[in-house]
Subunit: 231 residues, 2 copies
Amino acid sequence: MTRQRGGDRQILICDDEPQILRALRLVLRADGFGIVQATTGREALDAAALRPPHAAIIDLVLPDIDGIEVCRRLREWSEMAIIVLSAVGDEEEKVRALRAGADDYVTKPFGPDELVARLQAALRRSDPEPPEPVVRADGLEVDLAARTVRRDGEEIHLTPTEFELLRVLVRNRGRLMTHRALLVEVWGPRYAEEPTVLRGQIANLRRKIERPDGPRRLIRTDSGVGYRFVG
Amino acid sequence: MTRQRGGDRQILICDDEPQILRALRLVLRADGFGIVQATTGREALDAAALRPPHAAIIDLVLPDIDGIEVCRRLREWSEMAIIVLSAVGDEEEKVRALRAGADDYVTKPFGPDELVARLQAALRRSDPEPPEPVVRADGLEVDLAARTVRRDGEEIHLTPTEFELLRVLVRNRGRLMTHRALLVEVWGPRYAEEPTVLRGQIANLRRKIERPDGPRRLIRTDSGVGYRFVG
DNA sequence: CCTCGCCTTGACGAAATCTGTACGCCGGGC
DNA sequence: GCCCGGCGTACAGATTTCGTCAAGGCGAGG
């Protein structure tokens, strides 16, 4: 089951090892973050100045400027979330990094999930309101950030799968989503060719969010192709 | 109705087990991908160097070079999509593969549909398709990406075949499309000599998108030859 | 161990779509 | 004016796809 936890937030990643850079890029992309990358401290500072990201992940050892120094200079003008990467779990280095303004300190090797979790925690501190908009249509109110759905003020309870499905539809509102695309996004690639499960959840979702007795206004079906959320 | 999900993209597949190689070949061919195959890491690297494919699917265990090493060497010079195959779902191996630059990691046994779905996702990341533009003509608005059609702001519902037909016409707007060409594109080669089906759908399409009482402005007939979408 | 909520699956009637036939229309050739 | 080939439209049967419901599995929590 894929999640779009990153919203549209931009992350600056800086490391001199191409493999690490690439691994970071893949992990973060998969979680819906936007990426700006740099291989030296100077590049990182320039990139951040040019287009301020929401967070930065910076390796401690860089060819030119020390990662801690990069961190300090960013802090001079920005409140962005900063995570420092290091190969060694040296306690003293860690303290220096935090003193320089880092929000967190991650030692390599790290698992992708751990990194994303720490990044999110850091983002939550520095940028508490991710800009996921509240979507309104036909008296329905979907707040993707708060994970709530209301119909005429009354809160509606959705199960995890139902909400995930609604999220994908809402994020692509107006656009037709094929069965295949929905299945891959919500259930994962294994379910790409299992339309029955999709039908079941669409039925549940409609029973909960559409007006009890009336035509379909929110989720429209295109027979033989897919579904769309009308915006 | 034929699908050409693979486009003309070339996929390099590399595995030492002939059955797996064969299975991959069949699945990918069926989806319209072109295939280059190799049974050793060296062969794979040579083949990729000779004629760079759009993506590579590489088994982890190979007679000569480790699959991860193959992946790393490809990454030295190419941004192609890379998927690593493995018999075991070892989390550590997975991380190593992603670090080495793989885009995704699939464990055997895998369903054909899952593999194709993951391959398409990987291709989408590495080689994003240019966005399809919105086409406007005589108050009609066709958004090929969102799969929507509007006439003076009012949304028009098209069936799958109607939309497919319109898509082919719009993509070649101004250009004359022969009956034969339209039939092959929309219905597949079997229908190349069946103009009646085409006439029926053209009639439906016109009833929906042309102005109710007025001359044809959008789809013009070239008697004895074909149709064209006037832009 | 039981209960509860959630997800999946299969079956069946209902709806949408596709295909092929029938028939009327139009323009060119004679 | 008449014939004829190609075209446009309406319609009906066949086929595919959808919506709904009930039954069963699975896992969390008590």
